[in-house]
């Protein structure tokens, strides 16, 4: 594949190796970073997830990326027995790649492994929150899962639980994942590459790709160059500016939504007129090319695929005169609008983030607001993201990007907008009540309560500087046929990749 040799030598090599037909089905994928481990319970870390989810390990349920519907995978069906207990029927004839049978006991072990106390487990922390799961095998292929508190969407939550084999060591983050997926890990050259190969005894349909090698380059231009040159077949995530070849580059909504969180309790930002003015002052349409022309203006922190999304909310639009008038009005009422507002940024949170903040600063100065930008590294930025806030009296707008992976607004609303939410700067009794009303509810009542909360946050409270539903870009070599989807940020399902010839 490499073209360092002259054509003659290359032809010689091709002749010599023509016996290895299988190599025609091997692909190379270039990622932005090396995974820290391949621990199934760290699969929410995108660098881990893109290698193992659906390829090495699988889950009981999956969310279909396009429709957002929940579908069976390792479980074939499920039902709720009582408020706390769910019964899952497991798929028959599935084995782990180490030969062990996939059964209720294996899933119980995997769930236990997920909840162990000795190491940090992202899945447990992030998705299961404070909820304890107890898994009890009923028979070989029937499993009861009991939760410590009512969870109406447990089957959805199970879509992020990667089922690891019972043989996986209980301690430490594993570098050798064993699962039920179509591929097994064949090698991991630290710092260089990870290779997966197709299993002979996979339970499902045989994917076309027989071998996949993952490499990583942190520079977007280099990732794009590798596909252009044929050194890689898929570059997951390249910057919009590098996506300049319509033949190879695909834009896709990546599920992320951006906002500037406003410290709504600190003057002058406690005045809704100032908050509205900050929204009206931004020419978001004109700024869009900075982060990607295919992005959509957002008026809530979740996208259309998420239960609770309110399609009726409309962006504020660009109206600098109105914005300046609102600031003046607030000033006339004694609001300290001349106070410096800090714009908190995080380098590289998304491509173009620094330019976006600079543009905001310039546009806000047009309506008479003074701002200063403070950029932080991730570690420092996170301190300002979470309560208790380091400088609670500092009027600020805080760069935030959010991805609701599970498709239900509850995973957004509580943390971001409830008075007790860890990331929340909002204290509004009505929003709190709507969130609390929606969480235990199901069906339309749940959806409507969440929609009402988003409407209150946007229309009445103007709690954020609302920004974009973001797009990602991938570059795909003409050698393969594959299209990115909203799930591409968290996984790369190799079985979806077809060879062009």
């Amino acid at each position: 594949m490499r073209t360092v040799f002259g054509p003659g030598i290359l032809a010689g090599i091709l002749l010599a190796t023509s016996a290895i037909v299988a190599s025609a089905q091997s692909i190379t994928v270039v990622l932005p970073e090396e995974p820290p481990s391949l621990e199934p319970c760290e699969s929410k870390h995108s660098s881990v997830g893109r290698v193992i989810i659906r390829n090495v390990t699988q889950s009981l349920t999956v969310i279909e990326p396009t429709s957002g519907a929940l579908e069976p995978l390792l479980a074939t069906s499920w039902e709720q027995l009582d408020e706390l207990t769910w019964r899952f029927k497991l798929r028959e004839g599935v084995t782990f790649s180490d030969g062990a049978d996939f059964d209720a006991a294996a899933v119980a072990t995997a769930i236990e492994r997920l909840q162990r106390e000795d190491i940090v487990c992202n899945t447990k922390q992030q998705t299961l929150g404070g909820v304890e799961l107890t898994a009890t095998p009923v028979d070989a292929l029937t499993l009861d899962i009991t939760t410590s508190e009512p969870v109406p969407i447990l089957p959805t939550m199970m879509s992020v639980v990667q089922v690891s084999a019972p043989s996986m060591p209980i301690e430490g983050a594993s570098r050798q994942p064993v699962g039920t997926g179509p591929y097994t890990l064949t090698s991991w050259k630290a710092g260089e590459s990870i290779s997966l190969a197709l299993r002979g005894d996979y339970w499902g349909d045989k994917p076309e790709v027989s071998d996949a090698t993952f490499v990583w380059r942190s520079e977007s231009a280099v990732r794009a160059a590798m596909v252009e040159k044929g050194e890689a077949d898929i570059a997951l995530v390249i910057a919009g500016v590098d996506a300049d070849d319509p033949q190879m580059d695909f834009a896709y909504p990546n599920g992320e939504t951006t906002r500037m969180r406003i410290s709504t309790k600190v003057p002058p930002l406690d005045d809704v007129r100032v908050r509205r003015a900050m929204n009206l002052a931004l020419d978001l349409e004109a700024m869009k090319p900075i982060i990607g022309s295919e992005a959509q203006l957002a008026s809530q922190l979740v996208g259309p695929a998420v239960n609770g999304f309110d399609a009726d909310l409309k962006p504020f639009g660009y109206d600098p005169e109105e914005a300046a008038a609102l600031v003046k009005a607030a000033q006339a009422d004694g609001m300290p609008v001349d106070q410096t507002i800090t714009i908190i940024g995080r380098e590289g949170i998304y491509p173009g983030s620094t330019e976006i903040l600079e543009a905001m600063q310039a546009l806000w100065s047009e309506i008479g607001l003074t701002t200063e930008i403070r950029t932080f590294d991730t570690g420092n930025w996170l301190r300002y993201q979470n309560r208790p806030f380091p400088e609670p009296d500092m009027p600020n707008v805080h760069t935030d990007q959010h991805d609701n992976l599970l498709g239900d607004a509850t995973f957004t609303l509580f943390n971001k907008y409830h008075s007790d939410g860890v990331n929340s700067t909002l204290h509004d009794a009505e929003v709190d009540a709507l969130i609390e009303k929606g969480e235990p509810a199901t069906g339309a009542a749940r959806t409507e309560a969440f929609q009402a909360a988003f409407a209150r946050i946007h229309d009445d409270l103007v709690a954020d500087v609302f920004m974009y539903h973001m797009v990602g870009y991938t570059r795909v070599s003409p050698r393969v046929i594959w299209k990115p989807s909203v799930s591409t940020n968290s996984e790369l399902d190799l079985s979806q990749v077809r060879m062009a010839d």
Binding site: R2, T3, V4, E34, P36, S37, E39, K44, E117, D118, I119, V120, N122, Q125, Q126, G130, G172, A173, R175, A190, G191, E192, V215, W216, R217, S218, E219, A221, V222, A225, M226, E228, K229, E231, D377, T378, G379, N380, L382, R383, Q385, N386, R387, P388, N415, G421, V422, N423
Partner: protein, 303 residues
């Protein structure tokens, strides 16, 4: 120069450095923010700190760490959950190979072209060499690196973009790494040589009829080496701390990238292990350079 005393003093530096790194890196923030999800509660973070021992006073952490070092345990990476020293020792040889090749080329080139430039200061050769070397030394390395990839791998299709492999894979990273050392050293050689070539002992050598090439490359060069060796040492030290840009652009898994990531992720065990590895190399290098002074100038050796 008493080598034993010098080594002993260096050990003080090492211990001092290590203590400083240990205590000061812990000033740079609570790792629980980075290791737990963004919505983790304050209780979850406290539990994490307890589990990792970060709730202990730093001095207690320090001494228990020293104790485990004596048992050969340099701690476990929080991010990768494997021994931190393994991570450092996997990455270090990659960096070492890269800078050994680059610096040898830069050093040889700087000596040759620096001397050529110094033979006739302000001549055509001098002006050309100075322009090229200074331009290389002051160009932003990431710009050069990405430009080279776009031109030589994509447009001209001559070289692989990045990655580890045969000689072709070395060309671009080595070229980028050579630029600054070559430019700086070349100018230092030139400056020192101009000075030396007008010294009385050179005039004497010329008067004695020693061949001009021998005058320049043997008599004068050896006397001009003092600042060259010092600056070369400094350049080597800064590259030992990581040729980060080159490593990240070209995907070479060297120690610089590992160290930077560990610092940004507050993965303390890896910070400590990588600094320990590079510090041993840098401090040893400083000893070698001090020895080289003695070799270059016999009068220093008698100290």
């Amino acid at each position: 120069m008493n080598l034993f005393r010098r080594t002993l003093l260096t050990l003080f530096s090492l211990v001092g450095l290590f203590a400083l790194v240990f205590f000061l890196s812990r000033v740079t923030g609570d790792p629980s923010y980075l290791f737990l999800p963004v919505d983790a509660s304050a209780e979850a973070r406290a539990a994490f700190s307890r589990a990792q021992g970060f709730d202990q006073p730093v001095s207690i952490q320090f001494f228990s760490y020293l104790k485990s070092i004596l048992n050969g345990d340099f701690g476990t990476s929080l991010r990768q959950q494997r021994p931190a020293m393994d991570i450092a020792l996997e990455a270090f040889p990659v960096t070492l190979r890269l800078i050994a090749v680059s610096l040898s080329i830069a050093f040889a080139g700087a000596l040759l072209f620096g001397c050529l430039a110094a033979i006739r200061p302000r001549g055509i050769a001098d002006r050309l060499i100075s322009l090229v070397s200074l331009a290389g030394a002051s160009a932003p390395d990431f710009w050069v690196a990405i430009m080279l990839v776009l031109v030589f791998s994509v447009k001209l299709d001559l070289l692989p973009t990045s990655g580890l492999g045969g000689p072709a894979y070395w060309v671009l990273p080595v070229f980028v790494l050579v630029l600054r050392p070559f430019g700086l050293l070349g100018q230092v050689v030139r400056g020192a040589m101009i000075q030396t070539l007008s010294a009385p002992f050179i005039k004497t050598a010329r008067a004695k009829g020693v061949a001009e090439q021998r005058v320049v490359f043997v008599h004068a060069l050896r006397n001009a080496m003092l600042p060259v060796v010092t600056v070369a040492g400094d350049l080597t030290a800064s590259l030992l701390n990581g040729a980060v840009i080159v490593e990240t652009v070209f995907g070479w898994p060297g120690i610089g990238g590992v160290m930077i990531n560990a610092i940004l992720q507050r993965d303390f065990a890896v910070i400590q292990a990588t600094i320990l590895v590079t510090a041993v190399a840098i401090l040893a290098l400083n000893i070698v350079i001090d020895l080289a002074y003695g070799w270059l100038d016999p009068r220093l050796r008698t100290a």
